[in-house]
């Protein structure tokens, strides 16, 4: 399944991440999954949310730099070897796309794994 991912530029400072989550909470946005890549100065927060347009707009209005990327969401069987069965296929295809791992939705005994498609 293709979904859109938001990337948000955040300076490495106290309360930086909290500001983003507060804006989303106040806007009634549900975060499905996130990951954070950071350096000592700044980080890039990647989010998948229930309403990508609204989340993007809210963050931009609050002065954040936001970009959007298409990613593929894959359901991962919640059992030993579940993720491996997917990566095995991708690696056989010599897929050079970036793979970022984010797991969520364990309640439904399935996990999602997002692959950017750019």
């Amino acid at each position: 399944m293709k979904v859109e991912q938001l990337s948000v530029f955040i300076e490495n400072r106290p309360g930086g991440l909290e500001e983003v989550t507060r804006i989303l909470k106040e806007g009634g946005i549900n975060i499905r999954t996130l990951s954070l890549a950071d350096t000592s100065d700044f980080g890039i927060l990647r989010l998948i949310v229930n309403d990508v347009n609204k989340a993007s707009q809210l963050l931009k209005e609050n002065g954040f730099r936001v970009s959007r990327t298409q990613v593929v969401a894959v359901e991962v069987p919640d059992r030993p070897g579940g993720l491996h069965s997917i990566l095995e296929v991708l690696s056989r295809e010599k897929n050079k796309r970036r793979v970022s791992l984010r797991l969520c939705g364990a309640k439904r005994r399935k996990c999602r794994h997002h692959l950017p498609v750019r």
Binding site: F9, G43, R65, S67
Partner: protein, 437 residues
């Protein structure tokens, strides 16, 4: 001690008569040999013959740094290139540096004025001078060097950088005089201590420091840590280089401006009105003897005040106080002059960037630090939402600043609203150094 007793102690009346004669000559020569001065005087409706006394000087129009840029590179020269023996320039920029030229006689005059500075500091021909000013287009290194040779002292042309080697040479060659920026002197002291060297027991006895603003408190610190007498020197490449004015060891209060070669005025930087001596204002210099690059009423943008009371050293030349600030936005980082507009030009040269930036200047362990905070633009982030791409952008900005301006800056990408949005004038520079005590 006085190097040129005759000229440095001329009675005021004779000095002023000499100034007038030289002023009339330089104004005449500038008018007839430099297109810029002819246009500038004509526009102001003044002829060289109108200068009948020193009081007529304010009738002449000012010359600004912009005028020098507009005539880049050699448009302000008053002699053909065949008569020029040396070129210097202000720090390289993406814009236009200021280029200055010297005839052989100009180099001789400069050497003598620098020799006067050394002698005013109590230096003699038996001294060994550790010259840690940078050699190159910057006037500091070679200016000091020629003055030291004129005096007959022994020069170590160590130039800037490589601090560990400098400390080794300070121990082994035993120089008695050191010349560098005051912040570098403190940095040397600190690094020497870290290497286990007793910096107070070196043979150094005198330091001549300039090219950046410093305070009495820094003077005490340098004197304590290096166990020397620390004196202040003033100069700028447009006027000549180091050696326009020098503090004397006897007075230690204000720098004597060599008035047989320069006329100094202080003006209100807003209105251009000439202030009475003692009032704080912008220094304006007129060169009286320079052949290649005469400057008439050049606005230095340095804020100071003149001290006209006689000095106990016996020199009759007026003194200027420490430079207390600037009337423009120039900042001095480790002796290198930088304008925010130069940094802006570098940022705008990089396609993805917008000119939203702030410059933070600070001083850590006695060395100036420069941090450039640059907002991440929408365009940048759309094209590169990866950490490694943004980091390489930071590195590129840092490299460009080093290449063009010659200083190492820390570059930090920041969120858009971090920097105050401009309402009227942007606050581009935040200087956290507390130099003026």
């Amino acid at each position: 001690m006085i190097y040129n007793e005759e000229f440095e102690t001329l009675p005021r009346e004779a000095l002023e008569a000499l100034q007038l004669k030289r002023l009339q000559q330089v104004v005449m020569r500038a008018y007839h040999t430099v297109g810029f001065y002819k246009r500038s005087f004509d526009r102001a409706g003044i002829k060289p013959d109108d200068i009948k006394s020193l009081n007529d000087l304010p009738k002449l129009p000012f010359t600004t740094k912009q005028d020098l840029r507009d005539n880049y590179p050699f448009g302000m020269f008053a002699v053909p290139m065949s008569s020029i023996v040396r070129l210097h320039a202000s720090s390289g920029t993406t814009g236009r540096p200021t280029v200055v030229g010297y005839t052989q006689r100009d180099i001789d005059t400069w050497s003598e004025l620098m020799a006067r500075c050394f002698v005013a500091a109590g230096v003699t021909k038996t001294d060994i001078i550790h010259n840690a000013y940078a050699y190159g287009l910057f006037t500091g290194g070679l200016g000091m060097h020629y003055g030291a040779e004129r005096l007959g002292a022994s020069v170590i042309p160590i130039s800037g950088g490589n601090t560990k080697r400098q400390i080794l040479i300070l121990q082994d060659f035993g120089p008695t005089v050191i010349c560098c920026t005051p912040s570098y002197a403190l940095n040397l002291a600190e690094q020497g201590r870290a290497m286990g060297v007793d910096m107070a027991s070196l043979r150094l006895r005198v330091g001549i420091f300039g090219a950046e603003p410093w305070s009495e408190e820094m003077r005490r610190q340098i004197e304590n840590e290096l166990n020397i007498s620390a004196l202040n020197i003033y100069g700028l490449s447009e006027i000549m280089g180091p050696g326009v004015a020098m503090e004397c060891a006897e007075g230690r209060e204000g720098m004597h401006i060599f008035e047989d070669h320069f006329i100094v005025e202080t003006i209100d930087p807003e209105t251009g009105a000439v202030l009475s001596p003692g009032e704080k204002g912008e220094l304006v210099f007129t060169t009286l003897t320079k052949e290649a690059f005469p400057l008439i009423r050049y606005r230095t943008r340095d804020i100071s005040r003149l001290i006209v009371t006689p000095c106990r050293c016996g020199r009759t030349h007026v003194r200027m106080d420490r430079v207390m600030g600037r009337s423009d936005d120039m900042i001095i980082i480790r002796g290198v002059n930088i304008f925010p507009s130069q940094i802006e030009a570098i940022l705008l040269d990089i396609e993805e960037l917008e000119p939203h930036y702030q410059i933070i200047v600070d001083r850590e362990e006695n060395l100036d630090t420069l941090e450039i905070q640059v907002e991440v633009s929408e365009k940048t982030f759309d094209q590169a939402d990866e950490v490694k791409v943004l980091q390489s952008l930071e590195r590129r900005i840092q490299r460009d600043i080093k290449d063009y301006l010659g200083v190492t800056a820390r570059v930090k990408l920041v969120e858009p609203r971090t920097l105050q949005r401009t309402e009227g004038k942007a606050r581009r520079v935040i200087d956290k150094r507390r130099i003026m005590s």
